[in-house]
Symmetry: none
Subunit: 206 residues, 4 copies
DNA sequence: CATGAATGAGAGTTCATTCAT
DNA sequence: GATGAATGAACTCTCATTCAT
């Protein structure tokens, strides 16, 4: 059935089936048989399109990152101020498409593999560095460099913590609550940070 | 849960070997053979003492929780004020024994299994509820109930976020940095929370 | 055996690609994908032209036999005496086209399958019987029937032994050396064989 | 069932089952499942004792060589003269235990793999070199160095040719016929070789 | 005619568990 | 109590074949 243009379609179907299978059965029980069945295809198709299970898993993580990236690009287009862009970052990390039980569970699964896979570690580093870089860039226009770095780290940790907790809960993802929590923390930090002056921690510290 | 006639020493050695093996090879490649070899025992011993691999993994997670709990109890003994106890909670979550690459990687691995194991979910819920309960109890003495809940959630998310990021980094755990970040955020929240009054978020939201 | 409507050119290309692939990767790793790629065609073409992989392999062996046969026919045309024809047989078995690493390795591979394939056994029996028959026919004009049979067997075994050893060596085939060895042995036998009399073995055995 | 001393027994049983399976089904259809079934064991046992199928196949070929070697050693003990030892070499190569349909088919199978496996090539080179070395050593005491090398090559080729033809025939192995053929050829060569003088080929070549 | 995407049976391997010692 | 040899189910991957285009 040589249908031109099927390759990207099949690959996307298999990646979606992978996310769904991880969500249904867990990473450890995500087998080629289950993925291909979820995609309505034969087991051999995965090696055919990806070369093997590992490559599919990598592509799935890469796809998850790309989805976040694309969402951010869309939001960035309409953001005018640094604060707009910070909100865009937060809203992207808790958007309706990605901040779901399926996707948070998948991320959690991949994170557990990251320390043991060079490929996944590389992918995750890109994600981490990109988030940190975006946050810092906007924050440095609102406060000192030192404060920007500190706030960036705090916000990034909180975002990931919320993702983990959502993945663990298996319940509905609370998009509004997540955005409110992170944005609230961000505003609190900024409200207590000097524009060119010192950092709130320094104040807080006694 | 040492049954009668079983030697706690053997069980502890096997649990330690399990944590070490997860850290060395990852959860997926943590086999009975590797654990028992790391413990210097035969492969049959695990079924003998724990009934199976899954039971050992559960006991390992339970043990990790117990270690945190014990550390907290010790710190609690010398904490006088609510703020002392909040600091104790934070210090416990980033203490020298548990906040290590080995243990954070193990937690990360268990978290990835939590959504698919009733046993692990139950264990993790205990941990989450205990942390939330402890935080809320102390915070409610320092601010309104609403604010206490909000701050508790934020702090808990940040703590877990830092654990995830440490597990992912495979590097040294930055105990001082972690404590400073969470304590700083906590102080910032409290400094902007009314004692009996309203919550900082409300302020920040303009 | 080119069926009607099939292009002999394609079939020959595929047979050549089969020999080359066996030489490159070995019989066990000679797949449809590799053969068709080596021939610059699609994988489906083999079923299309031959009906399946096994049929292609059979045709390949048949082709190897036919090449030897053709070479012999050419040499036979200019051979006048029995000894001329014996030399022609030997020279055919070690001719520049077939006595190559590619072809000897392919023969070796087919021989290993012969005991388990009726088709290949049948083909090989034809080759063996033809060689024996040709040898015997000429020899019987030079010595007794008994001696002719004995010499024929010895020469045939030596020829095949040299083929095996050449296939195993993966080096250049030593055409001159092979011809000299077999022809030398043949002459030795004949020099010690009576025309109508007894056989050299009987003599040698004292 | 920890029974001491079982390891060599099991390994031998599996090697024997491998030879039998190759003989029954051919090298290509010699699967782990068939070998282990023939040995009356589970499929996992092969990885347990040999690490994998390839290692078992290698050990099987090594075992075949060792059997020949052992037989030769026994015969060597009672051989006094060079001619005795030459006969011992020939008799070893066509002895009742190894010169059987089972073993000749197995050798043929391994020979077909030799060009594509470094391990098997190494093993086979040992066999070839040993045979050539043994032959040459005895022959040099009976004729010139040049003649000894030539006879050695001829005899070795004939021996292997007879093995191949026996493997291909699937019939009973004709031990007496094989010995007679090779010994007869050897005697013929020697009868026409000078002690310190020239080689029979030179004569024959006119 | 010719293609190559898709299939699915079967291969080798891994590994938790069992159990005779 | 403690061992580790043995099992066999489940996994990933390969590949000859089929067939819509």
């Amino acid at each position: 059935m040589p249908k031109v243009g099927m390759q990207p379609v099949r690959r996307r179907q298999l990646i979606d089936a992978t996310i769904e299978t991880i969500h249904q059965h867990g990473f450890a029980d995500t087998t080629i048989a289950r993925i291909s069945k979820a995609a309505g295809m034969s087991s051999g198709i995965i090696s055919h399109y990806f070369g093997g299970k590992n490559a599919l898993l990598q592509e799935t993580m890469r796809s998850l990152m790309k989805d976040l990236r694309n969402d951010y690009m869309v939001r960035l287009a309409t953001a005018k101020t640094p604060m707009d862009r910070l909100e865009a970052i937060i809203n992207t990390n808790f958007n309706e498409e990605q901040f779901t039980p399926q996707v948070t569970v998948a991320w959690l699964s991949f994170w557990a593999q990251v320390p043991f896979s060079d490929q996944l570690r590389r992918l995750n580093n890109i994600y981490f560095q990109r988030l940190a870089s975006n946050l810092r860039h906007e924050l440095r226009q609102l406060t000192t460099e030192e404060c920007a770095d500190e706030i960036s780290s705090a916000i990034a940790a909180m975002v990931d913590g919320i993702w983990v907790r959502t993945g663990l809960s298996r319940g509905q993802a609370d998009i509004a609550g997540a955005r409110k929590m992170v944005l609230g923390t961000l505003r609190l930090y900024l409200a207590n940070s000097p524009s060119p002056a010192k950092c709130p921690k320094k104040h807080a510290k006694k």
